[in-house]
Structure formats: C-alpha cells, structure tokens
Symmetry: C2
Subunit: 341 residues, 2 copies
Amino acid sequence: MASKRVTLADVARLAGLSPTAASMILNGRPDTRLSQDAHDRVNAAAATLGYRPNVAARGLRTDKTRTIGFISDVVATTRFASGLIKGALDAAEAAGHVMLVMETGGEPARETEAIGAVLDRQVDGIVFATMRARELYVPDLPLGTNAVMLNATNPNHSTAVLPDELRGGRDAVELLVRAGHRDGIALIGQNDEVERDVFRSATVARRIAGIRSAMADHDLAFIAEQSIWLWEPEDGYLATKTLLDTRDDVRALLCMNDRVAFGAYQAIAERGLRVPDDISIVSFDNDELAAYLRPGLTTIALPHEAMGRRAVELLLHPTESGEILVPMPIVERHSISAPSA
Amino acid sequence: MASKRVTLADVARLAGLSPTAASMILNGRPDTRLSQDAHDRVNAAAATLGYRPNVAARGLRTDKTRTIGFISDVVATTRFASGLIKGALDAAEAAGHVMLVMETGGEPARETEAIGAVLDRQVDGIVFATMRARELYVPDLPLGTNAVMLNATNPNHSTAVLPDELRGGRDAVELLVRAGHRDGIALIGQNDEVERDVFRSATVARRIAGIRSAMADHDLAFIAEQSIWLWEPEDGYLATKTLLDTRDDVRALLCMNDRVAFGAYQAIAERGLRVPDDISIVSFDNDELAAYLRPGLTTIALPHEAMGRRAVELLLHPTESGEILVPMPIVERHSISAPSA
DNA sequence: TGACCTTGCTAAATGCATTTAGCAAATTTC
DNA sequence: GAAATTTGCTAAATGCATTTAGCAAGGTCA
C-alpha cells in the first residue's frame, strides 16, 4: 500500500525536536539559536526519511510556490517558437522552479481562464508569450503579481523581452554589402501592413526599419520589392518567380524570413540558377529549414531560447524593466557569395 | 494595495452561513440537505465576490490538484514532437486541468529531480513522453501515482500510447502499390540497427516490419535498400544520389521519414528528374517540411496531437491499459503518380 | 404524549509547514 | 547572590478548504 508521505512532524519526531526547530533548521534560518547538535540531528533525520516539503502546505503559508506560469497564444503548440519555452524551462529549472504551461490560442476568454488557473495555483509570476511578437491583451492581474512579456508588449506590463530586430535588419544588409553586393538587391516580403506595424507584429516593423536604414547608410536602393501578404514557402516561391520573370539583373535576395527564402530557393532552382553563384540570399529566423537547404541558408536568427531564458530570469529577479532587446545572432552558412562580375 | 484574496469564509459570511455549508454547496455535494435558499445565497455570494478556491488549500485536504505533470526528454524543446504537448495541453484544458511541463534531456538525475518536483506539487498523474519512441527509464514512483507513457514504453507502467507504426508501414506500401508501382521501388533509410530495435526507437522497428510484411503480401521486393545511419536531409540526399548513380530503373522511393525525403527531392532535382513524374515518393512523419516541398510530399503522419490527447485522457480516466495504438493518418499530397510506361 | 425521524445547518478537526510569542535553564553582570 | 541576559527550544496560531460528527427544531407515528 501507498507509503504515507513523510511530513515535517515525522522528521521532528525522529530528531527528537519540535516541528518548529525542524522547520527553522531545514530552511536555514539565519538568526536561530539552535545548537549544532540539533542541526545535525534534523538534517540526518530528513535525509534518512527522504523528507520533501509539501509545496501546497508551504505555499499556503508563504504564498511562494516556486512555480511560474507560462501563458502563450500558440507557442508550445507551434514548432516555430518552441525555443521560447525551452529557454524559459531551462531558466526555471536553473532557479529551482517549475513551469505551468498554458495555451490560449490568443482567445481572450481562454486567456482570462488561464490566468485564473495559474493564479489559483499561486504562481510566483507569469510570463506572457506570443508566437509573433505583438501587442497582447492581458486582463487585469491582482496587484503584486509580477509578469513579463515575452515576444510581446503590453501597456500595463512594461517589462518585455524582444528580439533586437532593428539591429538584425541592419546586419542582414551588412552581410550582403560586405560580400560586395551593391546593385541588384531585391527585397522579398515587403508589406505595407507590416511596415505600418500593429496587425502582424510589434517587432517585424523594426526589422524592415533596420533594413531600410542600413540601405540608406550605404546609399543603396532595392531594384525591386516584392510585396507579399503571407510569409510561407509558397508565397516566397511565387514572388521570386514573378521577380525573375520581370528582371534579369537580380544578384541578391533579402527575404523577410526563412520560409520565404525556402520558396525563393525553389523558384531559383526551377529557373536553372544557383545559390549563391548566381543569386545570394540572406534571410531571417534561423528556422530549422535554414540548415536543411542546399546550400545552407545564411540567416539572422531569432534568439528564442535566449529570450525565453531572459524572460524567466527577469521574472524571478527584476533587475531591469522596459524593453529588453536580445541580440539576433548572425548564422552564416553558404547562401552568400561575392556577386559574379 | 493588493486586494486580499477572497476565501471561502468570506463567501460564507456574506451568505450568512457556515463555511461548511458554503463548501458543500459550491462543490455540489449530492446528499446534502441544505435548502434551495441556502444554495442561492451561497452561489450569489461566490459570484459577487468572485471567489476562486485556493488550490493549495484544497489540495492539502483532498490530495487532488487538477494538475498533471508532463515529463519529457526533449519534447517541448524540439519542434519535431511539439504536437505531443499540444494534444496533451488540449486534453488537460478540456478536463479542467493544468499541466506542469518539465524537460530532462533524458538524463536520469534530472529525471529523478523532475519527478520529485511534480510530486511535491501533488500532481494527479504524470505523463512521461519521449521524442523518439523508446524504452524510458523511470525511477520508482510512490505507489498510487498514476502514470502513462507517451511515445515511450516502460516495464513498470504498462499504459503506453504509441503510433500504430506497423499499420503505417503497411499503408505506405499500399499507397505505392495502389498507384500501380510494382517494380523499381527502393527503400531509403533502411538500417539494421533500427530493425533490431532498441537503440533508436521501440516503434520504428515496427514501421519497417509493416513495410516488409506489406511488400511480401504483394509479392514485391525492393530493387535497392540504401542504409543510412541518421535520417537527416543531408543523409537522404547522399543516399539518393548514390542510388541514382547506380541504377536508372528507380521509379519509387519509400523514405523512412520526411527529412530523408527532403534530401531525396534535392538529389532528384539535381539530376534533372521530377517528382512524381519520374519518381514517386512516399514517406513518414508529416513534418512541416512535407507541406513546403514542391510538389507536396505524400506521407504517413505521426499523430502527435492525437497521441498527446489520448495520453492525458487515459491518465485522467484509465479505461484501458497496455499499448494504445493510435492510427497514423495518410496525408496524400502530390508526390505519387502512376509509374510512367 | 413519548419515541423516533427528518430537515437544515454548524463546530471542530484535519492536512502540513511556517511563524510569532514566549518559557525554562544556564550564564553573566554588578 | 540577586537581577539581567543569553541560550536553546517549543506551544500554539495561521493559511484555506474539506469533512466528520453531531446539534436543535419541527414533524411523524402509535
């Protein structure tokens, strides 16, 4: 039959002391005047019995549960941003916390329910994450609940961990320029809606702002901008196909993400051209696809894991607030070469 | 200032009744003899105050927390199997439970720690998941803790949710046969280690067993078997390239997974051949890649979400035990056609 | 009218760890 | 040697919901 749980009282009894003493010793209370002998006896007793404090009972008293809530729209669900969870999980584990994961599909009702559910379990804080960085609706939280936004922003909760897209956008252009590209650069995935922000993402607008500012700094202009609404492989394929139908002076493609670049590869191959000899490509995200492509795709990575980690660290130790910008690593593979003469 | 939590006592006071009455009414106890009037007053009071039971306090008493533990090696982490989590999360939400997610990287020490952590939080049950279905080491659990294996097996915990790979393997062959393929079928990804099982996966051995049995039923034989160790795009590319170098009668490829098939597409395109006109391809997993490929890849899907859902349902309502085989859906896209004459 | 139910409700115990208040013995201080 | 500290430890309260045991008022049966 199920062996009963070992309680603090059991430990105290075995050590020949009161639960009070046992509690103080096991929690390492500093000012206590308990003897060394008492310490030894309690520690020994706890060890022999394999004592583990009941988190519920402790939480009832202290309001701390070493548990954090991770509420996201579709992060866990989708393969795109699962790095956010991984990073958060790592940081939580490192801090001796566990994570309650919830998905709301972005629906306000489920979101409210999710917040209630984690609050009922007295979480020490909540991370709100979104897949595509955007302004997130967050119902009022009881005062004193701390929260951090992950890949999201919200007017009521200023601490937000975001990728440094402005810098990332600049880096993508720099990569091309440094390889010698000046003419024949086209942009695939430009999108007014995105530039005007809001709908899709709070940060992708910055990506393109970075791109444009770096282009301007180098006195360059795109020879074409293929605007597409969705950024899936199919869209990238079509846009690139159209582009190649129209012009024959394309030497480099700046794709708004790796899935678009994936489609661009297909269109380029179909035309009998080669990456990077005929056309260089640089892109964003460092999706798993980027490594699978032949040749490997050079891309500016979305630092999902680092962001997830940072969010949890900030939740547990709020050392700074406001927008925390995490650098986007440059992942160089083989899709960029010097332009052919 | 932080508004105090509303407790059951508050509700009782407002309703002019004892906490006992309030508790019984809110929990819908059947045999109670409390008046309709009392019911109404308590419900009204709970509603006006926005009362939410403290899960820790309740758990202390009842040992039920409406929380389940999801312990995996690298499932959350990796994009491959995130569907397992999604399905589990859905089922948990549907049952009014929340999920504590932990990742152990497959390390026994972290695994033991994770089990301790979720047990400390009095979870109602634990789902143990692995990315690649395999026999999973699970430290002893206190008796009475229920557990189900997800995409994994374990001698001590018989309830295991697995994909029906045997059937899936057969279906892949059927797809080819039904399209008219009899000759010129090659297998990419055969691997003795896998067939002998254990190391890689408890279920992939069944996949290939299914393939072989269906081939035998139709009196067919592979014209070639390219054995590869890893099943990544690069490996599939190389294996297919080698195959095409050796023979020119290849009409159909049975790839052990979509990443291998992805590599096969690359090798086929490089040779100036076309899918499916020159070579049909069928594969396994229904990785996101499968939809991105041109033409779309027909594949036997790993039913991750359905599996995750099933595992949680079984954990909460153990209606059956042993191996629960979840069917692998056939996802038909455009990589199979009748063999050219 | 007295024994026995019902009905409608509540007091108090319980689960477990933490924490406040404080007691008794030993030691120090003047 | 009496008063004041210090040392070492504990009783009891607390947080919150659930649950067992049982009470008082009104009704029924004979």
